[in-house]
Structure formats: C-alpha cells, structure tokens
C-alpha cells in the first residue's frame, strides 16, 4: 500500500499566520486520524524528509465521548478519533476549527461554550449534597429526551456548522440552548425556568437561529438540537405573553 498522505494546517501561536505541512505515513490497517498524528510524534519528519515539530492537537478519551479532538477532516467537522483512515479519501487534510481561536496547530480554545453554560444557568439548583431522600419520579419518555440532550459533549461541531455563529453575531449557538431546555425539563426546572428562558430571549438568544438545521446534521451524538430550539422558542413565546399580561 502507498503511504498515507497527510496535509496539516499549522499555526505556532494564536496571532501567527497559518501554514501547511505534508507528511507521508506508512500504511497500516486500522489507523484513525489520531493514530496518524501519533505516528508524526514518533517521527516528526515532513514528506520531503526535513525535520519539524510534532503536530499539536487536543485529545483525551479517543472514543468520542469527551469532545476534545474536534477538527476539520477533509473539510468535514468531526472528531479525529472516530475518523477512520480506511474510510477517508486521500490526501487526508486536517484543519483546526474556524469559529474558535486557534491555540496552536489543531488545538483551539472553546471556553466560550463553557461560558455560555454559565449564562443559561445549565444546572439543577439543588439544596445541598446531604441526604434529602429520593429524587422526583420521571417518566421513561421524559428520561429518554433528557438523556438524548444530556449526551452533548460540548465538542463544538454545531457551532462550527451554524451559519448564525460568526464574528458579526452574538448568537449563543445550539449547544447551550439544548442544555437550557434540558434543565427546564427537569422536575425542579420550573423554579429557574424563567431565568434561563429570559436569558435566551435577549441578544444572541433564540431569535438569532435562522433554522438552517446544520446543527443536527453534524452532531456526532445525534442530540435533538432542532427539537430543543423549537421547544425553547415555544417557552419564550409563552413567557413573552405572560410577561405582557402581567404588566
């Protein structure tokens, strides 16, 4: 088998210009993009035989549950660990996410996503961790919806694919809306639902969604993002009228 041609878009620091490097990795069955980059660590040499520094990228679990290794693989936003080389066309082209600041090479800073979770208060306001007895009863149907939303691993694919998330917009993006809906769904949700919903009725909130539906198409965990956005839209409308008549 021919060596695997790999093109990587690199960048030394956040404010430096990016550049491309090519590598040729000896073929072995069973490689994924992560293990290709490990081969570069072992032999950090460009395809032309000159030495370079090993490629830098984020990774942790390698089984698509931690959300770390999101990048563009052949133009598609996905996780490097589950990108199996035998199913990819070659050369394999790797680029960092574009909607988050590059830290170095393929590693990016996604802290805005964690900040968004603070904004929508994506937590259940428990009284404390002491023993207060069993939790509320929940129907299997509600649990299944909650579970589907709760599998969001903050990987950022949905923000990357959303046309409304860009440098001219303050749109919070699909992931955080999904988490707000998840927490509103919990039996204790109504206690803080108003605050969460209000946050998403303001600038950068629910009205900024243009219904392109790219988010559900790229989500590796099949989180029902458009259903969640629809639910939040209805919750916002209800709140709008409630607030109107309360005045």
């Amino acid at each position: 088998m021919d060596p695997i041609q790999l093109r990587v878009k690199r960048q030394e620091r956040p404010d430096n210009e990016p550049y491309w490097e090519e590598f040729a990795i000896p073929y072995r069955a069973g490689h994924n993009v992560h293990s290709l980059l490990m081969e570069v660590q072992l032999r950090p040499v460009r395809a032309d035989g000159t030495a370079t520094a090993p490629v830098v990228w984020d990774a942790s679990c390698l089984e698509e549950v931690c959300g770390s290794c999101t990048m563009f693989v052949n133009g598609k936003i996905r996780q490097a660990c589950s990108a199996l080389v035998d199913s990819l066309s070659r050369p394999i082209v790797l680029e960092p996410m574009k909607k988050f600041p590059v830290v170095r090479d393929l590693a990016v800073d996604r802290s805005r996503m964690f900040e968004s979770l603070k904004r929508v208060k994506a937590w259940v306001p428990i009284d404390g961790t002491y023993d207060l007895g069993p939790g509320p009863r929940i129907s299997e149907e509600d649990q299944q919806y909650a579970y589907a939303l709760s599998r969001c691993m903050t990987c950022g694919c949905c923000l990357e694919a959303c046309p409304q998330v860009n440098s001219h917009s303050e749109f919070i993006g699909p992931a955080a809306i999904g988490q707000a809906v998840l927490k509103n769904l919990h039996p204790s949700g109504p206690l803080t639902k108003e605050e969460r919903t209000a946050e998403l009725m303001g600038v950068g909130g629910i009205v900024d969604c243009s219904n392109a539906q790219n988010c559900v198409m790229v989500c590796p965990k099949e989180v029902p993002l458009t259903r969640a956005i629809g639910d939040m839209g209805r919750q916002a409308t209800k709140k709008f009228f409630r607030d109107l008549f309360r005045r």
Partner: protein
C-alpha cells in the same frame, strides 16, 4: 490567621465532588486540570454505579453489597471504609438523581437497576451506557454554579508538577505548569487533594484516556508519599483493540444478557457459563480475563485464529438494546463498522483500572500531611480486584469524605499556609522551572514517544493477566534501561507555547518510576490474589500476603514494606465463582 485555601487537582468525579463539598461548607477552591474538567476521563465510564437500593424485591442490602465488594476484592481492602461506602450508596444515587442525572427509569418512573459482575442482585443504576459521562456532567454543572458565584477558580490546561512541601515536609500547596505559556508557578494552600485518576498510559494502550499518565501520583511518590498495592492492575475482559487505544465494551453488555463464546468443535462454546455455572458471564473481571487467556492462548480457540472471542447480544431485542446500551454499541459500530445487534462483537482483554494508588488513611490523607488523594488515584476501596460499577461509587464517596476532612485539617492548622509560606515557595518553584529548562535543552537521539511505546509493550506483555517472576525481573531491567535512554532524549519541539512534547517528557519519567513500583510490587508478591495472578503461585497466601504493599521512593528504586489489612468486619474466606458464595460469618 489568613483565610484557609484549598486546591483540588483533577476535575473528574472525585475531584468535582471534593470541590462541591468544600464550597458547600463555605470554602473556596482552586481547581486544576490538564483538560477542561468536562472532558475528564470519568466520561468513559459506561455501565453504571452500584448501590443497594433494593427495588427489585431481591432482598438486597448494603451489607450484601459490602460482602460482594470485599469478596470480589479478595479481602485485600481495609473493611471499615468499604462498609461506609456501601452504606452511603443509596443516598449517593438519590443525590445524583436530584442533580438531574438522566438515569433510566422503570414504567412506574422509578430508578431502574441492572445486573453487573460479581453479584447476584440488580444493583447498578445507569444512564444508557454513558453513566460516567452523565454523572460527570451533573457534577460539572454544580461546580459551574459555584464558579459563577466566585467560589471556584478553574485552572484548566494546567498540569500538576509536584507538591509544595515546607521544611517539616507538610504540603503547603502545589507547583503547576501552565501548558499554554509553559510557565511554572507555585500556588499556596492549606490542604491539597489529588484526584488525578489512574495510570493506564503506563501500559501504552489501555481503555484509559491519554491524560491518565499517573504523572501526579508518581511525582508525590517521588516526594515521599507511599504508593500502595501498585501491583493490582485490573484487566477488563471485553475491549476492542485499536492502533491508538483499546476501547472498552462495558460489562453492562453482559449485565443485560450478553454472552461470551468462541467456536469449539464447530459449535459455539459459552465458556464462562460452563466454567463458572454459578455466575456465568457475570464473574468478576479478573476471572473473565483469565478465562479468555486460557481459551485463546492455552487452548488455541481464538475466533478465526485471532486474539479475540465473541461477546454476543444478537439474541436480544434491538430496541431495548438501544435504550439500555446504545452508547456502547455505538462505539463498536463507529470504530469497527459492524452493528452488534446483528453480528457478535469481537473482543479481547485490556488494561483498565488500577486498584492500587496513593496510600491514604480513612480521612483520604496520604502519608504527606496536608496532601489528600481521592478517586482512582487512591488505593482505598477495591482491594485486589474492583467490581464493575463500584468505581463511580468510590469516586463520589471518596470525594464526600475528602472535602470535609480537608476542611477539618486546614482549620486545625496552627499556622495557615499563607502565613507559613516563605522562602521555600519560590525556591521550589525555581527548582521545578529549572527541570523544564533542562528538558528544553535535551538534544540526544532518543524519541520520548518511542520509549513510551516500548514501556507499554513490556508492561502489557508481562505485568497484566499472567505474571512470571522471570519476566517481571526482565521487565524491571528493561525499565531501568528505558530510564537510561530517557536521559538521551532529543527534543523535536522547542516552542515556548503549548509544547506537548516537553510536558510529555516529564510525564514519561514519572511513568517509568511508577512502572517500577507496579512491576516490583508484583515480583515480590508470591501468591495469586484477585487481579494479581502468578501461575507459579496459584494460591492465595493469607499468612504471608494478606497485607497492603507500601512502596517508598528511594534513589535505588522502590522500597517495599507491608501493612496488615483491617479484616475486622468479615473474616476472609475462599473466593470462588463456580459455586454460590458461602455466607459471611
């Protein structure tokens, strides 16, 4: 006296629970993690969490959970903390439920429970087959709430370098490396908890995340903390081999009725069911892994002549499989390209968990005063073998002990760290910064990642399922050779910004130190107990080895000593799974 300060290193389940407990009592925490805490290795836990809630009319109790755990651990765990953990199980499940963990439900809307290995009871609560991920997210959210209130300061993409020890050897904070700026800083605190997880990466490829290098545990071991029971390494029977990692296929697959088999005389042979009629496919992991080794290597019955056996759920209802096991079946589908609902999975054992870890007392404090350890990095709860779904429980319970004990310890200090901190802080920071400067200057011919791969191959081949003294000795010689080669590493990246190679070189040294603890602990223990199995010494030897191994760092290698195990609650008895467990006396 200055206000007490607390540091927690590691943002998995144990670290987050410790943090929550401190904040809830009014303390403030500096939380350090190499990855954003939501990406910690706890996300990989699949099958569930044990607690004897007894909702299935089986007469389960926390006492039976305790006995199963001690028996499953081959009596090596000190019993009082295990008893306390099991007794607290139900309350912990209820707490997680209140936090919003989407546990699977019964038709009545109650928590559902399933079977797991080493027990006869439905005792494992689960959220699909991504229970650890769901639990981590719930705790992450609670910590974010404290962060929004200003009670938690997160230092994500920071690496623990070592403990800041004062002249009396008391821990007064930490030295840490900012992985982006590559700068070393000191942080003063009255109490420090390490919740840094297991050492899977020492074995090269394992089911662990690549952040599980054991580097923090090894660093404090080299500073004088005891490392206990290092030789007890759990090999999980069912994983899918890969180039980069060995991906876990959860024990819950068997809990939900999955069967292991291979082909013998042209017919399926359900070897676990035949060898262990009482527990069948739900024997503990050490037993199942040895059975797979026997079938594949001794009998030559691997599937298609490969190192593999079948794990089969094709007889189950596909819709129910998706609801209860979707997350794990999806991993097989994505990484192997076949649907386990239709085709039996091909699996093989893989290094999975370390029962050993930093020695701690019942307050989770290590042998270094002021330094605590909690979660997989401690050795406390699982003895010689951990039962499935007990790790999540031990992380949470350990955190519930650790947080309050840190507060009590710090409040009892005569001098706060901030007052006691003087010249030694900057001196120790500078020393560690100098270590990194020396790494930056390494210009030999060796590649750090190549040394690591060799370490992994040797450890996996000789220090996992079957251990022979001759091979353990050779492995230790090899590790010493690799340490020598470490000194001849040539750095390929001299960048001063997010230089992953530089931090890896330091981790690698720590991995080599820890590898010796694991290997020499195994060499010295001439018996078989739980996950530690020597074919030349097939019996458990309570007279000599019903003892905790304690390793102390010396410049000539680990010095081993032994400590009696507290067996005051359940008298040790023979552990076997082919027949029903005898009743505890």
């Amino acid at each position: 006296m200055a206000e007490q300060r607390y540091i927690v290193v590691g943002g998995g389940l144990a670290g987050l629970m410790t943090t929550i407990k401190i904040c809830e009592a009014g303390g403030e925490v500096d939380l350090f993690s190499v990855v954003p805490v939501k990406r910690s290795h706890s996300v990989c836990a699949q099958g569930g969490i044990n607690a004897a809630v007894n909702t299935k009319g089986e007469g389960d109790s926390t006492a039976i959970h305790f006995d199963d755990t001690v028996y499953g651990g081959d009596f090596l765990a000190n019993q009082p903390p295990v008893r306390a953990m099991c007794d607290n199980g139900p309350a912990i499940i209820f707490l997680l439920d209140r936090m919003g963990v989407p546990f699977n439900r019964t038709s009545e809307g109650l928590l559902d429970f399933r079977r797991f290995g080493g027990t006869k009871h439905h005792r494992t609560a689960f959220a699909g087959a991504t229970t650890g991920q769901q639990m981590l997210y719930a705790l992450d959210e609670q910590v974010r709430r404290f962060e929004a209130e200003g009670k938690v300061r997160k230092f994500e993409t920071w690496e623990f370098v070592n403990a800041l020890l004062d002249d009396a050897g008391v821990c007064r904070g930490i030295v840490a490396l900012d992985l982006r700026r590559m700068e070393v800083q000191a942080f003063v605190a009255d109490a420090v908890a390490l919740a840094t997880g297991g050492p899977g990466v020492v074995f090269g490829r394992s089911t662990n995340s690549i952040v599980n290098t054991g580097t923090a545990a090894s660093a404090v071991y080299q500073q004088g903390a005891y490392y206990a029971n290092g030789e007890f390494i759990q090999v999980h029977p069912t994983a899918i081999p890969g180039e980069d990692k060995l991906r876990l296929i959860s024990e819950s697959v068997r809990g939900e009725g999955g069967r292991m088999w291979t082909v013998r005389d042209g017919k399926p042979w359900y070897f676990l069911e035949e060898m262990y009629p009482a527990y069948g496919n739900l024997v503990p992991r050490d037993i199942a892994s040895r059975a797979v080794f026997k079938v594949v290597f001794e009998m030559g019955l691997g599937v298609d002549g490969q190192n593999a056996v079948y794990l089969d759920v094709t007889h189950k209802d596909p819709e129910e499989l998706t609801r209860k096991l979707g997350g794990v079946l999806e991993i097989y589908e994505k990484f192997k390209g076949a649907d386990p609902r239709v085709v039996p999975m091909k699996v093989f054992p893989a290094m999975h968990y370390s029962m050993g870890g930093l020695w701690v007392d019942y307050d989770q404090m290590t042998s270094v005063r002021g330094l605590f350890a909690v979660g997989e990095v401690d050795y406390q709860y699982h003895g010689a073998n951990r039962l499935g779904a007990n790790s999540l429980l031990s992380c949470l319970y350990g955190g519930m002990v650790c947080g309050p004990r840190m507060l009590a310890y710090a409040k009892g200090l005569k001098r706060a760290a901030a007052d006691a901190a003087n010249g030694f802080v900057e001196h120790q920071r500078k020393r560690q910064a100098d270590v990194y400067e020396r790494i930056y200057r390494m210009d030999g011919t060796e590649n750090a990642y190549a040394i690591w791969r060799q370490l992994g191959e040797w450890m996996t081949q000789h220090v996992t399922v079957e251990r022979y003294n001759k091979n353990l000795k050779r492995t230790d010689d090899k590790i010493i050779e690799l340490k020598d080669r470490w000194g001849r590493i040539g750095l390929n990246d001299r960048g001063r910004w997010l230089n992953q190679e530089v931090s890896f070189v330091r981790q690698l040294w720590n991995m080599l130190e820890l590898a010796r603890v694991i290997t020499l602990g195994a060499l010295a223990r001439d018996e078989s107990r739980g996950a530690h199995y020597k074919p030349d010494f097939p019996q458990r030897d309570d007279a000599k080895f019903l003892k905790t191994t304690k390793a102390r760092w010396t410049s000539d290698g680990p010095e081993l000593s032994y400590e009696d195990v507290d067996v005051s609650l359940i008298r040790p008895r023979v552990r076997k799974y082919d027949t029903e467990k005898s009743v505890a006396v």
